[in-house]
Symmetry: C3
Subunit: 350 residues, 3 copies
């Protein structure tokens, strides 16, 4: 179940260089992404309208792309501008183009009605490109419905179990009841885990020897964007004293490739020891290790759902945030379905 | 087409050690098998009722198992006994448990109505664990409907062709008409092949130089359990004289994993030269070689059935036993379907 | 969409040697191909009518084949002639046999009504076996609907793009409008590309230093048979002077294995330097390289069609030949469907 009228992360900036013709599956469509000579990223339907050959196997010619099956050429708006051996070009011969915007290091695409593609709706993933933060970009491909991954990100009680030996470290995280606030296009979750043992990777980075206070505070926004401030500091320091704290900001984005596969773009930026590249790398490696732990359980969950007879999921209290978000996605999806112009019957019966 | 109210072999005993959480697909379900601290084997639905994560990726805690996604804990009856961060546990929050019994070296599971799980219905595979017999356990995974494998086991005329150079050795086996008796829960097949050449592996084991008499006598029981006494001896010896005979007892069990994949548990025990481990090993290797011959033709048969348009199978006389058994499976299956309580409509129309 | 009443290439002659039992999937059927002791090729349904085991895993016995599952024996007409352990053989116990004819080095099979299998309908692929021509046989397996490959062969404008660096070499080929003539069972396409640069592989073979005239002239016949005369010669020579010309004759045949997979039999014969085996090999290698280029784009096209929502293909002028051929295939297919005897209802309502 996809919402179309929203911004999805289509790619990291470094995936689309000057000469790249990137093919990316998004919401069951195949999308071609490339950059104009001035660097502006564009997104077109990847399927040549002539015989459905993939344009990403084609050739860049200036700001245009030529299909390398029979040589049709399309400009950056998707309009066909050349058919070898044919003078007249049908004006309707074009591929669909999609609104695309680069912000920081992410290329965002709008899969719904282009008229409604308001860049103001792009979530503020500021730490992707900010002088006070450092990060290394990450990507995973998931054989799972993106909603199962959203579920995971909306209930951090899983840190105590899935990430027991990496990001978690203690059952305390699962025991705390987070504060959940409804946002217009998402959910805000705040979880304070005080006077707890540091996570193994925090201990390594921060040199904590005693108990710590951990805070996770994030907005989870449509269609599946996590923007999180996280910190860890010695338990004895006052609430507003961030001296000696490790501060993180994490941006993560889910983009459905198909109904049951997902692109996962992620990074976790740090605000301390900015000039120590080993810190950036170490955080990245810890994240990769942990996100493989997530992927292992979520893909196993997806396989189990697929191969066994359907049965309802039984709710518990910790599901509050994920249920709110599932409801929101369903409401937006249903509104879009209702707004789609009905197919007019050829003959209506009076 | 599965019968549910019967005992299936779920595992060899050595597959479920003290700390094992074994996942096994049975009749399209995913089953978790493990042992209590006292060694008793238990079987639970492997799908956590909360978010459908697989419990076999979880953690043993005493006689309980904890789901390592969000930490729910279940006791050996399947009842949820702990939800991290939540005091009240809904009494209905549980996973289904299945009756399980260990007999000899096999763990048997009952997939149907637990009220009807009578251990007296477990076939007597005595040679699995008997001082007068020796054997080595075997297992194969089949990409085929279990009924195609039952067909194979119910018509030993295939020994002359599939196992020409291993277990068979002569067209005589196919030429003999076996005696077939109907049993309440299966079929009894007796085939005497007299004055024939020994099978290649019998010649090796028994040193036979002349003609031999071979006997195969087996019960084939619901859902797909073969219990067979087999012997080979010099042709000139009287019927009741087993001096110089090689005597075997074979236990084989089919358990459908899905509609088109099957677990095959097997062994063939010998009653001679019990202390010669090379004999046990040699019989096991001969069996593995021969059962790969079966698998090759049966999986090819399954693929051919799957990829070509459907057509009826044409009966011959040799199908008598397999047809009886297919009728029995169908009758039991249909009886179960008829006995399933009908879904009561929300509102019935008067 | 398959036409059944026509000849398909089933195999190269060298694929079916004296002892071979070749299995080949054709039009979703599994076909067994072998030779009688006198060398005559025969084609039978590969599915044993008894339990659907594949006969190609069986054994040749004279002109017959024995199923190596339960030993049933079939003669070359498909009639069962032996059932081990059973005297009476039901006369209807047989496998379907298909008309098969060898011409040159191809074995042709007729998949429709045997009464209509007229060998006069076999296209004349003369260069497969002719003293004035040399060639090396080629085969490719395609994960694509054969009609997508027919499309490719019916529009050589793709040479300019797909084979830019191999068989093509210039946009001129795409710019020329070919002459298209309708044939009773196909389409004739003639494309003269004059005063153009030689293709890279022509330059290599013919030592051309200046501009050349290229001609492609082919019949494309039901179900998917290309028979082409092609030549290249210095541009300044008169039309009827073939001195210094490289002359080729190419025979290519598509045989659907399933709805979305295809066998592709091909060769390109040369009429020059017949005794130089390096020429034959070099042409074969160039063809293999180029046909891999086709396969890459066509399989990508097939995948894109499969994984994205359906949309219509937009016609251009270059589609004239392929559209004519698609119409012909559809017309023949629809005629066959209409001619199939309707299923007579058990009881007709008056």
């Amino acid at each position: 179940m996809f919402v179309k009228n929203c911004w999805y992360v289509a790619a990291w900036d470094h995936e689309v260089l000057a000469d790249t013709l990137l093919e990316r599956g998004i919401l069951n469509q195949s999308i071609l992404i490339y950059r104009l000579t001035d660097g502006t990223p564009v997104a077109l339907d990847n399927k040549c309208p002539h015989r459905h050959a993939p344009l990403n196997l084609g050739r860049r010619e200036g700001d245009s792309v030529r299909c390398m099956y029979h040589g049709l050429k399309f400009d950056a708006t998707g309009q066909c501008t050349e058919i070898p051996g044919q003078d007249r070009i049908p004006p309707k011969l074009c591929v669909k183009s999609y609104p695309m915007v680069q912000r920081g290091r992410w290329l965002w695409i709008w899969m719904g009605d282009p008229e409604r593609a308001d860049p103001a709706l792009i979530p503020d993933a500021y730490s992707l490109n900010h002088p006070e933060w450092r990060m290394k970009p990450g990507y995973l491909h998931y054989d799972a419905d993106y909603q199962l991954i959203s579920d995971n990100l909306l209930d951090f009680s899983h840190l105590s179990y899935v990430h027991e030996k990496t990001l978690g470290g203690s059952p305390n995280i699962a025991e705390v009841r987070p504060v959940i606030e409804r946002l217009e296009r998402g959910v805000r979750v705040t979880r304070d885990v005080n006077n707890t043992v540091p996570a193994p990777y925090h201990a390594r980075l921060g040199g904590f020897t005693g108990k710590v206070n951990r805070r996770f505070s994030y907005d989870y926004l449509v269609p599946g964007i996590l923007l999180m401030a996280a910190s860890v500091k010695p338990a004895e320091t006052p609430d507003d004293d961030m001296t000696g704290a490790l501060q993180f900001h994490s941006c993560q984005a889910l983009t459905p490739e198909t109904d049951t596969t997902t692109h996962y773009f992620f990074m976790q930026a740090h605000k301390f020891r900015l000039d120590d590249a080993t810190i950036t790398e170490s955080i990245y490696q810890s994240l990769c290790t942990a996100f493989e732990e997530d992927r292992r359980i979520i893909e196993a969950q997806q396989r189990l759902i697929r191969r066994t007879p359907p049965s309802p999921m039984q709710p518990i209290a910790a599901d509050a945030a994920l249920n709110q978000f599932r409801w929101l996605i369903k409401r937006l999806h249903d509104e879009e379905a209702a707004a789609t112009p009905a197919v007019i019957p050829l003959q209506s019966v009076a």
